[in-house]
Amino acid sequence: MDHMIEVKNLSFEYDEGLHTIDNISFNIDKGNYVAILGHNGSGKSTIAKLLIGLLEKKSGDIIVNGYELNMENLYKVRESIGIVFQNPDNQFIGATVRDDIAFGLENMCIPHEQMDDLISTYAKKVHMEDFLNHEPTKLSGGQKQRVAIAGILAMSPSIIILDEATSMLDPIGRREINTLVRELKKEKDMTIISITHDIEEAKYADQIILLNKGKIVKTDRAKDILSDIDLLSQLKLDIPFALKITNGLKEKGISIKNTLDNKDLEQQLCQLRSKM
């Protein structure tokens, strides 16, 4: 098997004639961390719902983990993909943390005797082992999203999609989730797709798929896409802070290398200063 996800000539429309997704094709390799980047309304979240079969494509093919997505394979595909949605409250199904993690296990027909072990293992993985009996109203947004991740991990998918999973969280919650995702990334074989408009988060991706008006504008290494100031500003996306500085300095005739990383920029600037 070559790719974890293969998308060929995929189109989708909510309303007749209005292409929400317009003939897009892309591949995602096993173990990669991919960011799908675009402003609100560019079609990013629609792609996630198509991949997991919550929306029905108009045309094109989707192949996930070797299974072509169709009615017959729907549940096989869903077993391969776990998805964390934007709103922490509306995806908490169980009465307590414990029951919420169990929900997916019940659907997978995991025997009752194995559930408690799985629940505590994956609760530990997201650092929620002390909250197993808590009700959702007593948890913060970040904690609820961590429970959502545990619920998904317990179903041992090959792919995790984060559909703007941090956009409704406060900075502490956001940090919790981003750290957790980076921990998961270290586990080989896990393919992670992050749907976001946060440039500072997308920096950590291996690959970026840049989306606008339902079309792929560009797909490339994160470094190359995030260094393309003209493209980013044309699509009304943020420009990484470090890049803004190097760009401004270049205009002043100072020779400096483009970078996305603030620490790297600091080093360069210190060297420049000591040269004087």
Binding site: Y75, N90, T96, C109
Partner: protein, 266 residues
């Protein structure tokens, strides 16, 4: 809405809390029947002792039970009032102009009062000592024979448990919308009839929109976690029937049997 005590689960570690929720539902049902058999004050005394034992064993504070009875007090007095003036059995005790009060009427009214207090107390003990989730499981388990006639027992149970899960969230949402509209000059307490209608619309429509949004999100989350109501699922929460449940059932049956037999002997 904040001080709703009736029906709220109070986490505690007691024998009653640990009993099988199916037993509790069945017990309540049997009790409801036997309480309507008139076995005189001795019969109600026996049932009263039974309820008192349940209350003591559940470790639930008396004040909590009284709080649950308080809102019903008006209804109980109302019923008693009618009975006293309308029933004409037993001896004539008192004549107040056109109104005649009979001894039988007083007795009946007292019985009604006692019955209602007993029922409310036992129901409160049950809801305070049983998690909503357990009640749902018990309902599903007790109704499971209906699956044979294709009654969607599992779906019903899932619906109840999701409704229970989202009630606090929707209450919060309603409070938030009321405040947001109050900030736009809505007065939910005063105003003319048309103003009141408008205020209610300004609350109801956003609340519905938000509820539908939640429903859609939740359905997506459930489906993406491979939920298929028609497929076989294993269960995490399993109800287990213990010896203590059998004992409790036996005691209940015995008490109710005695009361019912007494009612025929009197």
């Amino acid at each position: 809405m904040d001080n709703m005590t009736f029906g709220k689960y109070i986490p505690m570690n007691s024998i009653i809390h640990r009993l099988d929720p199916r037993l509790k539902i069945v017990t309540l049902f049997i009790f409801l029947i036997s309480v309507f058999f008139d076995a005189g004050f001795i019969g109600y005394g026996i049932l009263g002792i039974y309820v008192l034992m349940c209350a003591l064993l559940s470790k639930i504070k008396l004040s909590h039970i009284l709080k649950a009875i308080k809102p019903m007090l008006f209804m109980m007095l109302f019923l008693m009032f009618f009975n006293i003036f309308l029933l004409k059995t037993g001896d004539l005790l008192l004549v107040l102009g056109p109104v005649k009060i009979y001894s039988g009427a007083i007795l009946q009214s007292a019985y009604i009062f006692i019955r209602l207090v007993l029922i409310i107390t036992l129901t409160t003990i049950m809801t305070s000592s049983t998690k909503p989730l357990e009640l749902t499981l018990a309902i599903e388990s007790l109704l499971s024979p209906l699956k044979k006639v294709h009654f969607p027992v599992h779906e019903l149970a899932m619906m109840i448990s999701i409704a229970l899960r989202f009630i606090p969230d929707l209450l919060d949402e309603a409070k938030r919308i009321m405040k947001a509209q109050a900030s736009r000059g809505v007065d939910f307490n005063e105003g003319t009839f048309t103003e009141k209608i408008k205020s209610i619309i300004s609350l109801i429509i956003p609340l519905f929109i938000s509820a539908f949004q939640r429903a859609e999100d939740l359905a997506n989350a459930m489906e993406s976690r491979n939920y298929n109501p028609e497929a076989r699922r294993t269960r995490y929460q399993i109800l287990t029937w213990n010896l203590s449940d059998t004992v409790a059932l036996a005691v209940t049956l015995l008490v109710c049997f005695v009361v019912i037999v007494m009612s025929f002997l009197i």
